[in-house]
Subunit: 731 residues, 2 copies
């Protein structure tokens, strides 16, 4: 998503507030709507809302007691609007990784910092094909030239013109390397760190081709932000639209229509960036020849050929993930997933089908009950939201049309863990479990699914008890797995034993050139402080005295915090206000009291706990969107930052990193629980549950829509639902 | 459709007018919207519109010169709003069958007027199973009783109670016929004309079961109108919704969303009528055992059994028709049809697919052109509307996203006749053909499709020239064919050589009891005057003088006009104002000048031309809806009219018909031509082409929606299209 939408602009928040207000009036006073519409109440409420927005900036402390959950009323809780008003406040709430989503500690991954690394030192087992140099190294151009030579003959003039534009170091190499790419590789390696300063001139003659795989959150926000006409973007995806996935559970029950949450990807890019789209699935990435191989859904030309390949200069992988079946037998064949818009549409028809089937004659009670037994596997936000949407759909709309079905419907939620919504605050979990019990949704905790056939699902409790439940429909929402194309690519680049593509903090795929990965298909491999502790000490110790003065350390501290965000997290978790507190504590432990200098051992002991704060980012649209925006901004400023790097100093090498590394800002998370109630966990550990959060949810989701078209459609869908209910026509 | 909606109520027309007005403002002054919204212009325009509505009642003469078409401006043409204001005017425009749709003269069908007929005289070849008596004859009840006896034992008390309630003539027969249905049949036949007056009392003990097959226009309007709690309605259809089919061409291109034109059938019936729905397809009708056999789409119970049967007391067949492929090879496999909502959705995805396919690399110009060649077969209203919708979609929306495709797209319309829209006025046809030529739609007249394969369509001109055209998508819209279940049923009842079920003027299927057929699956077999001329003369000649005085004839005239609507049509076509003109003319021809009496030969010569006015009704939703409403009203008043028949006198028998026969009122027809232009042919031979008709079209279609939900959705879809265009996401 674009910056303006992501860091919700004041205009959008205003819009959402008013929409929410109108919706509220519509819900609670439908008859008085016209009167209220014309009355001063509206203006007063608007003003009130605005003032609340401003009040929201007074933040509450983080040390809220967790004794029990507490449903906050909107009147006493101006801060629930906090997430809306980034621009109004001028300053953004700090990110909080405390418990945003299943945060997984990963085993340390042995790697070098690739900007500084010598290719000769590389681990040969990791990379299975010859290294083609460094990130953004100019040999890519040479490679392309050679291909041009092969195709179009000598091309001497063209080559000469480009050579003149190239930097002095690379020119000689390229002139020599006219006929043999392989022999040239080694010589290029020595030039790997040569500057790439002629990029700007280069683009005047030929635009850099950026191939973007995927049109999900990461891809769409990359496209929306990219604003540099020196790139030519080629988007490849089997879906020619961006889907606003947080509303998919609503689509399953017709609260929102499928078409209201999608926007053609061709509408998303900026006008001044040349963009083209190919509706095809990438089946193979070949980093050696800088090509991706794609397959179209349908026979294309007269021979029915469906495969084609696309060259790239930069490859951005944002293909997302697929549902994870954990290889449980029968899941693939019998369960519905909830990743794509089509999935949601299929679920919707299946629900209606179940009700129609159960209405047919010649069935006994038991069979009808089976048909109307809906099982949701996975107690994450998606599963929980679907279960509550379905409950509302059945109880608000379907029972009116199928009155006999009322007592036959059963919704069961199976969760392998001990609680649902484990990534949320304990208060939310408790509230959700209580609400589901009240609603008659059967929550079976600690139930691991072991087998599914076409009529029954078998689960095992932690105690080892087996149970087999007949079902009518299963929705499977237990987590994400790796797509085959990514798996294959990971094998190629020696990451075969991982679950997602490893990237560095700049989203570059480790071990590859000019390949970036973001969103659910990638994880950031955060460099550990302890691995670099010697280099950090050396860097900080400018006088080479073997000890660091406080001043020396303070100087590099901001760079260290930039480079290793876990330091800051650690300080925060310890309640410390600066690095000095940390150092003092370490010195106190080591007994070297009141010393103003510290040696490497003291530094080590001060920072040894820091790396425990390294956590994987959750697989959410929020992360993907922020990564897309970040990457697009890096692309925009590629030339500028080459000359004036703005990142932290290189700990192991010389100079500075070009860009500041990616940092995730958690803006909070919602868990709609049905019955116009939503649980919201906002940054700073605030929890809000109830109707007020539902309104906040409406506002946020309306303002986060990718286009005005979808915004209007989603809001009108909500209103339609309030007035007319959900439609149950089976189309 | 219900009466209120069909004969558009003033409230609905008002609503539509305002909606149209708002839309207009939105289109032409989007920026000034707010200002205008609050200005007095709105009120003034509203008042103007209302006055136009009233002015509409001043009708123009029928004798408008047909010299050339004339685009009428709304300012000079108040009558364009005529169709809206039935209630305002108080009186309805007379129907005009001059050219509503392909009106087919059918060969005379030899039949008796079944109310009077003696079963012994029946043609045994026509009916392949024993006749079970007459329409509504009480032996049906006897039959059911017997079944109950078989099931439940003696049931003597029940039988006795009912017998007491029965008429005296039937009682004896039924008491005797306890054990053998076949032997009873003959004795019941003699009671066939016995009165059925105990119906009302009967329903207190058991509701009459009406089985309705189909949820299209006919079925939905039947359901919407039926308002008598003595029936229990069982609806059976593979679709659990009613679809507003006139908007299907709009759905193909996303001008209107699919869900906006459908309404769950369970929402449509009245509260006080017990209604249940089964989602299944009727596969066989058995009039002997009064059962319909159905098959559900999916396996139902644990054995996967999909078949079941349903008993009926009355069967209403409204299954509609299917697309007619004329058995042309390859049509079934390669063409899209446009009968169902799913068809429209498939067409929509296929159009987008074609554009995406044509955007893929590795194709030559010719292949791309083939993929973007859309062929429409059939120049009727549906084909023409689809072609123009597609043209608008491509030129208004798709070219923005697929700029390269602009010069590759081609739309071709194939029509076997010499003109498109042959059922419309010549002026409309000419305008449409000119507009299509201007728009670049290639209209190939006189082209008969002979073969279709997966890439090419072969057509033959009238001159015998063959041509083969490569295509990307074909939409086939050439007319309607008979559904298999109806074909099978027609064979059973000896109508095997017909194209649709023959019914009498009261919509009863000929040769069956308690079976009604309406909509596209049926045609009304209008009795001819000349067949009954002797009986008419005898009926009119009360004095048995062998001659008719004018007075005598005038007395029966209104009944004759009711029974034989062709008389009235004939008079109108001759410009005569009453039957006296006709008789005078006949007398003048016969030389018996100024005579006030006329003999049978004179009457024959007066009426001999009349039967040429017997025409089949067009296969439109308008006809089906009116038939559904008519039939439901008959059902509502079944008991009342049994005692006090309100129909015309029986020409061949005694007494009166229970109901007035069905009469179709043509309310006009639209042909949207794209680019916000529509051709409208309204009753009284008025033609209006252009933007004004488009607004009329919006108003009429908004007001005709079956529910407020669909009305609001359709109108908001139109607005959304004006503001944001059509969506091209492939979902």
């Amino acid at each position: 998503m674009e910056e303006e939408t992501l860091q919700v602009s004041s205009f959008n928040s205003l819009f959402s507030c008013f929409i929410t207000l109108y919706s509220l009036i519509l819900i609670y006073f439908p008859n008085d709507l016209l009167r209220i519409f014309l009355s001063p109440v509206l203006l007063i409420s608007g003003a009130l809302l605005l003032s609340l927005l401003r009040l929201g900036s007074t933040r509450e402390s983080n040390t809220r007691p967790e004794k029990s959950y507490e449903i906050l009323k909107e009147a006493e809780e101006p801060n629930v609007f906090l997430v809306l008003d980034s621009d109004l406040m001028g300053d953004f709430v700090e990110w909080n990784l405390r418990a945003p989503l299943e945060v997984i500690h990963e085993e340390a991954y042995d790697e070098e910092e690739e900007e500084e690394e010598d290719p000769n030192e590389k681990d040969p087992t990791r990379i299975q094909f010859p290294e083609i140099g460094d990130w953004n190294s100019p040999e890519n151009i040479g490679f392309r030239w050679e291909e041009e030579d092969d195709d179009g003959g000598i091309g001497g003039e063209d080559r000469k013109r480009r050579s003149d534009e190239d930097g002095k170091a690379t020119t000689a190499v390229k002139e020599e390397a006219g006929d043999n790419a392989r022999s040239r590789l080694s010589s290029i390696y020595s030039e790997a760190n040569a500057s790439y300063s002629n990029n700007g001139v280069e683009t005047e003659t030929r635009k850099k081709k950026v191939v973007l795989l995927g049109t999900g959150w990461a891809g769409a926000s990359f496209l929306k932000t990219l604003n540099n006409s020196s790139y030519e973007v080629q988007v490849i995806s089997p879906r020619n639209y961006f889907a606003f996935t947080p509303l998919l559970p609503s689509v399953t029950c017709g609260t929102v229509e499928a078409r209201s949450v999608v926007e053609p990807i061709r509408n998303i890019g900026r006008k001044n960036v040349e963009m083209s789209f190919l509706e095809a699935e990438c089946v193979k990435i070949d980093p050696r020849s800088k090509k991706v191989y794609c397959r179209s859904k349908q026979g294309v030309n007269s021979n029915g050929k469906r495969e084609f390949d696309v060259d790239y200069d930069y490859l951005v992988i944002a293909t997302g993930a697929q549902s994870n079946t954990f290889n449980i037998p029968g899941v693939e064949e019998n369960c519905h997933f909830l990743k794509e818009v089509e999935d949601a549409q299929r679920i919707r028809s299946t629900v209606i089908d179940s009700f129609e089937k159960a209405s047919l004659p010649g069935l006994n009670e038991e069979e009808r009950k089976r048909m109307l037994h809906f099982v949701v596997v996975g107690g994450g936000p998606t599963g929980v939201e679907f279960a509550s949407e379905l409950h509302d759909f059945v109880n608000e709309d379907l029972v009116k049309l199928y009155p006999k079905a009322k007592n036959l419907v059963q919704i069961t939620l199976l969760e392998a863990a001990d609680h649902i919504l484990t990534m949320f605050d304990k208060r939310i979990t408790e509230f959700a479990e209580e609400k589901f019990t009240r609603d008659g949704i059967d929550v079976k905790l600690g139930s691991m699914v072991v087998k599914v056939n076409d009529k029954e699902i078998s689960a095992k409790t932690k105690g080892g008890e087996f149970s087999t439940i007949p079902y009518g429909m299963i929705v499977w929402s237990t987590g994400i797995g790796t797509r085959p194309v990514i798996k294959d690519f990971m094998k190629q680049i020696g990451q075969g034993n991982r679950r997602a593509l490893a990237t560095d903090e700049w989203l570059r795929v480790e071990g590859c050139d000019n390949i970036y990965a973001l969103g659910d298909c990638a994880t950031i491999n955060q460099r550990k402080v302890m691995e670099d502790i010697a280099a950090i000490f050396k860097k900080a110790d400018k006088e080479n005295s073997g000890t660091l003065t406080m001043n020396e350390f303070q100087e590099v501290m901001s760079d260290i915090c930039d480079r290793y965000p876990q330091v800051e997290l650690y300080l925060k978790s310890k309640g410390m206000h600066g690095i000095t507190d940390l150092l003092k504590e370490a010195q106190a432990e080591n007994g070297s009291n009141k010393s103003v200098e510290l040696n490497i051992e003291e530094l080590k002991s001060a920072l040894c706990q820091v790396d425990s704060q390294v956590k994987l980012l959750p697989a959410t649209g929020q992360v993907a969107a922020q990564q897309g925006t970040y990457l697009a901004k890096c692309f925009d400023r590629m030339e500028v930052c080459e000359k004036n790097p703005e990142g932290p100093i290189r700990i192991r090498g010389e100079g500075r990193h070009r860009f500041r590394p990616f940092r995730y800002r958690h803006l909070g998370q919602f868990a709609p629980l049905g019955g116009e109630q939503t649980a919201a966990q906002l940054p700073g550990d605030w929890v809000s549950i109830g109707h007020s959060s539902q309104w906040l949810w409406y506002s946020v989701y309306a303002s986060k829509q990718v286009s005005w078209r979808t915004r209007v459609l989603v809001v009108s869908d909500w209103m339609r639902r309030f007035i007319f209910g959900r439609d149950s026509s089976r189309i």
